[in-house]
Symmetry: C2
Subunit: 95 residues, 2 copies
Amino acid sequence: MPEIAISVEEKAYALLKEDAEKILQLIKVQIDNLTMPQCPLYEEVLDTQMYGLSREIDLAVRLNLVSEEKGKSLLDNLERQLNILHEASQKSAQG
Amino acid sequence: MPEIAISVEEKAYALLKEDAEKILQLIKVQIDNLTMPQCPLYEEVLDTQMYGLSREIDLAVRLNLVSEEKGKSLLDNLERQLNILHEASQKSAQG
């Protein structure tokens, strides 16, 4: 096997990180376009997206491609970043 | 490798089939408990569940664990079975 080959484990983690990044970008676009974070649609989109990612991570964990810890920290990290975005947008709405 | 070993591809497909089956069972339970299929909550649960499964299948396809055709037919099959359940419940509600 050449060193350049990417294992299915590495690919799984890379894809999950990519998908988490996509959710973050989607929410950034929503905030930048002044769709208020208080809007129920925003909450619904976010919940659905987070659910989808959590199902992907769960599948990767069940396939032993990603450890439970790594999967959990991926989701926790995204939630933390979303909270920061959310708080910043609320502050700028008030200011 | 002993013959009994299951490849990650086989395991991925088995898990996806299991998850599709769980959605079908969930909807059956909802129908049996007379939560009407016209109820918006039912639609929302179903949409979210289907979205979650489609994300799992998409990940497995991107990892080359399941072919696009097999993934698509898994989802199509589930939709077909859900339609049958849905129609049956509407007929019994009318009858």
